[in-house]
Each structure stands twice: as structure tokens, then as C-alpha cells.
């Protein structure tokens, strides 16, 4: 039903109100901010350094000066979790940025120029999407070797097709709209039209994609690092910490070495997913597919 009351507000206020009523999304946002704070500020508060080795306290249980215990080298788990969080979350953000860079660029080009250029780009997305993502990522990682930079490169190069498709369909839809026609008749160049008129209107789906992609990449990083093909020493992430549990003894007896890291991955991904779902409801209702009565 039409609600006149809402017409009086700006779209942003209306969206904000709608977002705030989604309890899961707001919870997700709050938890996410808390996690970010932990990763940024945490290392200064725990009183230990990432690589400080406590010879007297190897594999110590939680308590006794180490809130979450220590690992096999006597390093403080809580401190390492905070540092690991920085790495895991940065991989999520940078890889997503790379996906966006490639995807938005190629998507705009495909949508705007059409013809053979479009066909070639779209067939490439088909081909990449038909590869089993994880298997191919693993295979490339095996060739390039594990490192922060390679990880971002691999995920970026494999992850752009979905945002490319989103942007292309938006561009196709928008390029024939009257205001874009008007801009064209005013003599604006193609790229200017894309950046000033089309992309701002495709922002909703792009923002939703970005949040959900960060979540996906954090999971991907954890998985690849767990297998020893993501982040390499000396850097460590939640995923590399989890890989400690590949040792049966640690899995059985030292839960503090892997359960907290796994929980942080879960919590981060879950809160981003809740946030993304809330944003989708507001910004891109179709992608969420809940309409009706």
C-alpha cells in the first residue's frame, strides 16, 4: 500500500529507517564494528607482541596472564588473533576492491559498447564462472606460491565476473533511460556518462555485492590458508591459526589454539552477511527476492 508519510522524507532517511528496523542487520553492523576495533586496537591492549615468545608458557591453557592461552611457541593467542584479524579482513577488502575494479570496468565497457566486445567479455565471464572456484584458486596458488599479494590477485582475477554481470545489466538498462539520453545529447563522453550518471544509479547492487564479497573472501582466505596455500609465514591470519588443528593432538587437546580463530571467522562472515542482507533489502530488493504480499 502507498504510504504518503514516507514520501515526505528523503530516500536516505527512508532507507535508514527501514535498515534500522532489520534487527539482524543492525546486530551484524554492531558486531562487525566491534571486531574491527578488536583487530585495530587489540594488539595495544593485550600487553603482548605478535611474536613475543613466552618460553615458560608453551601451549598454556587460557588464564594465568594469557586470556586465551598460548600456542606451541608460547605466543599469546589473543594478541595473534587481533593481528590475524588485520590480515584476514584486509585480504577481504583488497581482493574485493580488485574484483570491483575489473568487474565494473569490463561490465561498463560490455554494456556500453555492445557487439563483439560485449560477447567476448561475457563469454570470458561464462568460462571463469564455470571453473570450480576453489579448485582453480588452489591450483593457481600452488603455481604462484602462497603470499598476501598472490592471494588477492587470485581471488580478484577469479571473482570479478559476477559484479561484471551486475554492472553490465544495469548499464544496459540505464543507457536508454531518458536522463542518460539527455546527457548524451549534451555531448558528454561515454566514460563521463558512465561515471557521472550510470554508476551512481547502479550503486545499490554494487554495495550489496561488495559486502557479500568481503564475507566470501574472508571465508576463502581462511580455507586457503588452512590448506597452507593462502597467507604465508611470517604473516599469519585466522586461517593459518586454524591450520594448527590439522595436527590431531592440537585438535584434541588444545581447543584454544583453533576454536577462537574459527569463531572469529564465523562471527565476521556472519555479521557481514547479515549486514549485506539488510542492505540488499533496502538498496536492491530484487536481488533478495522477497516481495509479494
Amino acid at each position: 500500500m502507498e504510504r504518503n508519510v514516507e514520501k515526505l522524507k528523503t530516500p536516505f532517511q527512508g532507507n535508514l529507517k527501514k535498515f534500522m528496523t532489520n534487527k539482524l542487520a543492525v546486530t551484524g553492523l554492531v558486531v562487525l564494528v566491534a571486531l574491527l576495533l578488536f583487530a585495530i586496537v587489540g594488539p595495544y591492549v593485550t600487553g603482548y607482541d605478535e611474536e613475543t615468545i613466552d618460553m615458560m608458557n608453551m601451549l598454556a591453557k587460557p588464564g594465568n596472564g594469557h586470556t586465551l592461552g598460548t600456542d606451541e611457541l608460547g605466543r599469546d593467542i589473543l594478541t595473534r588473533l587481533a593481528y590475524g584479524g588485520r590480515v584476514s579482513i584486509s585480504v577481504g577488502i583488497f581482493a574485493t576492491l580488485m574484483e570491483l575494479l575489473i568487474g565494473v570496468l569490463l561490465g561498463s565497457i560490455a554494456g556500453l559498447y555492445g557487439g563483439i566486445v560485449e560477447s567476448v567479455i561475457m563469454r570470458i565471464t561464462d568460462i571463469i564462472m564455470c571453473f570450480p572456484f576453489f579448485v582453480i584458486a588452489l591450483s593457481i596458488a600452488a603455481i604462484t606460491g602462497p603470499s598476501f599479494r598472490n592471494l588477492i590477485f587470485i581471488i580478484g582475477i577469479l571473482g570479478w565476473p559476477s559484479v561484471c554481470r551486475i554492472v553490465r545489466s544495469k548499464v544496459l538498462y540505464l543507457k536508454n533511460m531518458e536522463y542518460v539520453e539527455a546527457a548524451r545529447s549534451l555531448g558528454l563522453g561515454q566514460m563521463e556518462i558512465i561515471f557521472r550518471h550510470i554508476l551512481p544509479n547502479a550503486m545499490g547492487p554494487i554495495i550489496v555485492f561488495t559486502t557479500l564479497s568481503v564475507a566470501k573472501v574472508v571465508l576463502m582466505e581462511a580455507s586457503l590458508s588452512f590448506l597452507g596455500l593462502g597467507i604465508a609465514r611470517p604473516q599469519s591470519s585466522w586461517g593459518t591459526m586454524l591450520s594448527a588443528a590439522q595436527n590431531m593432538q592440537i585438535l584434541k587437546d588444545c581447543w584454544w589454539m583453533w576454536v577462537p580463530a574459527g569463531m572469529l571467522v564465523l562471527l565476521t562472515v556472519l555479521s557481514i552477511n547479515f549486514l549485506g542482507d539488510g542492505l540488499a533489502e533496502v538498496l536492491d530488493p530484487k536481488s533478495r527476492g522477497t516481495g509479494g504480499v
Partner: protein, 325 residues
């Protein structure tokens, strides 16, 4: 219908060619020649060179590609460096185990996902809907290997009620018949739970949202106005419309189960293609890696093709619209 299938088939072939180009490029990226694992070091270099020439390893890249493709089409995917066996037979040896796990988890995920999804859509914002939404999000957010390790810790280590790794109990490999089936079934429980629940979450989200959409449609009101029992309105009129969505999810999940079970198979030491893939990566067994990639990509394409054909069978409009675009 025939024309439609032909068109889809042609598309699939083109994509498969693209996939093969990339796989071939990756094979050529690898330092050293792909045959280096196949001969012993004491063979003289000239002899190797002569053999490589004969095999075409020094041909121009495009010719190499055509030859490689020709071999791949006949099932010759090269020779595994680690297993010292043809790649194809190594993969086929493991495929059955992966398929077994895939079937049991698809069964769990489809049953659970569709029933709970329909129920949630009919009773929106109800208790089941709210709980299942949060659970589905959790299942989509948990790293599968972490979930697997927690199950191992709880059911295998602490409670000691289920085996935690492998496919058969060590020392009982020789048993046969029902006892063996039971043993395998017990080993399947935990990996099936991990894969089944994670896929059920996706299935549930899609089923729910498409059922919610469909419930608001005019033809559902028509079905009610006709005086059909609610059961028929939902399970006949609404569900058949939701089926194309459900098939889409399935067509994504089946190849995903073959490749995505890599972590689960690794954690549970399940002797399937996933773990084989990880072993291949660990041993830098490139011919094997590329063979697996090529086979899994083909599976993905076949699954997509079957999905496309099923759409047309379910919803006649697909054929209609296909003509337009």
C-alpha cells in the same frame, strides 16, 4: 525443443573450449616440461630431447594445444607424476567415493532445504522462519573445515560415538557385505552432516524467497478462488513455479559438491576427488591438477546444460523467450 537444446549444447562446447585454453595455458605456465616426472634421471639428454620432439613438446604452442586437446578428448589427460598412473584412471578411482558423499548430502540438503523453505515461506516471521533464517546464515558463514573439526572434536574425540576419518575402519578393510556397508555409512555421517547442512542453507534461502514471491502472485489467488485445498495450492501450483529456482540451486550444488568437498574430504580424510586434488597440489602433480580442473569444469557445464533443459521442460515460456533473445 531440439533447436533449444542444440543451441545450449553449442554454447557449452564453446565455453568448454575456452576452459581448455585456460587449462592448457596454466599447464604451460608451469616451470619445467610436463614430462619431467616421467623419466629417470639417468637417461641421456639427447634421448630425452628426441623423445620430446617426437611427442611434439617443441612444436609451436598452437599446434601443441591442438594435439593436447585431441588427446584430452580421447580421455588421455596425461600421466600423474606422483601416482605414476594415467591421470584419468587416478581420478576415476576416486570419483565413486566423492559421488557417494555427494548423493547422501544432496539428499539431506534437498529434503531439509525444500521442506523448511516452504514452511518458512508459508509462516513468515514465525518461530521456524526466524530460527531457520539465523541457522541458514550461520551455515553459510561457517568455514566448512572448521565445522568439520568441531564435529570431529565433539562426536569423535569427546563422545567417541562416530569415526572421524577415512571411509572404512582401519583393520576392518577386509570385511564385506552388510557389515562393510554399515561401516562406510558410519564414516559418512559426519561429512554428510557438514556438506548436507551447508547446502541445505542455500537451498532453504532460495526456496523460501521464491515461494514468498510466488505466494503473492495472481495465479495463486486464482488457485485459491477455484476452491482448491491449500495443499494443492502450495504443492502443485506454487511449487512447480518454484522448481526452476530449485533446479538452478541444484545445478550449482552438484558440481560444487564434487569440487567444494575438497576441504571436507581433507578434514575427514575421505578418499575422494577433493582430497585427491589437495594431494595433487601438495605434490605439485600438475597433470593431475589440470585433469581434475578439466573434469570438474565439464561436470559444471553438463549440470548447467541439464538445468537449462529442465527449465524448458518445466516452464514452456523458456522456449518462447529463447526465440526472442
Amino acid at each position: 525443443m531440439g533447436k533449444y537444446i542444440g543451441k545450449r549444447l553449442l554454447q557449452a562446447v564453446i565455453i568448454l573450449l575456452g576452459v581448455s585454453v585456460i587449462v592448457f595455458a596454466l599447464v604451460n605456465f608451469i616451470p619445467g616440461d610436463p614430462y619431467s616426472g616421467m623419466y629417470s634421471p639417468d637417461i641421456p639428454t639427447e634421448e630425452i630431447e628426441a623423445k620430446l620432439d617426437e611427442l611434439g613438446a617443441n612444436d609451436p604452442i598452437p599446434i601443441q594445444y591442438v594435439k593436447w586437446l585431441g588427446r584430452a578428448l580421447t580421455g588421455d589427460l596425461g600421466y600423474s607424476i606422483w601416482y605414476k598412473e594415467p591421470v584419468i584412471s587416478v581420478i576415476l578411482g576416486r570419483l565413486g567415493n566423492t559421488a557417494l558423499l555427494a548423493c547422501s548430502s544432496i539428499l539431506v540438503s534437498t529434503l531439509l532445504g525444500i521442506t523448511v523453505g516452504i514452511y518458512s515461506a508459508r509462516h513468515r516471521k514465525g518461530l521456524v522462519d526466524n530460527v531457520s533464517t539465523v541457522m541458514a546464515f550461520t551455515a553459510l558463514s561457517i568455514p566448512s573445515f572448521f565445522f568439520g573439526m568441531i564435529l570431529i572434536k565433539i562426536f569423535g574425540v569427546d563422545l567417541q560415538i562416530l569415526p572421524i576419518s577415512g571411509m572404512v575402519t582401519v583393520g576392518k578393510e577386509s570385511i564385506t557385505g552388510a557389515a562393510r556397508a554399515l561401516d562406510i555409512a558410519r564414516h559418512m555421517v559426519l561429512p554428510t552432516v557438514v556438506l548436507g547442512l551447508m547446502n541445505a542453507a542455500t537451498m532453504l534461502r532460495y526456496t523460501r524467497s521464491s515461494m514468498v514471491d510466488i505466494q503473492g502472485m495472481d495465479f495463486i489467488r486464482t488457485a485459491r478462488a477455484k476452491g482448491l485445498p491449500e495443499r494443492k495450492v502450495i504443492y502443485k501450483h506454487a511449487l512447480k513455479n518454484a522448481l526452476s529456482q530449485i533446479i538452478t540451486v541444484l545445478s550449482l550444488q552438484i558440481p560444487g559438491l564434487l569440487s567444494g568437498s575438497l576441504l571436507t574430504e581433507t578434514v575427514f580424510l575421505w578418499p575422494g576427488v577433493g582430497r585427491l586434488n589437495f594431494e595433487a597440489v601438495n605434490h605439485r602433480d600438475y597433470p593431475l591438477i589440470m585433469g581434475i580442473v578439466l573434469i570438474l569444469a565439464s561436470f559444471t557445464l553438463i549440470a548447467n546444460l541439464i538445468a537449462d533443459i529442465s527449465y524448458a521442460a518445466i516452464d514452456p515460456r523458456v522456449l518462447q523467450n529463447d526465440g526472442k533473445g
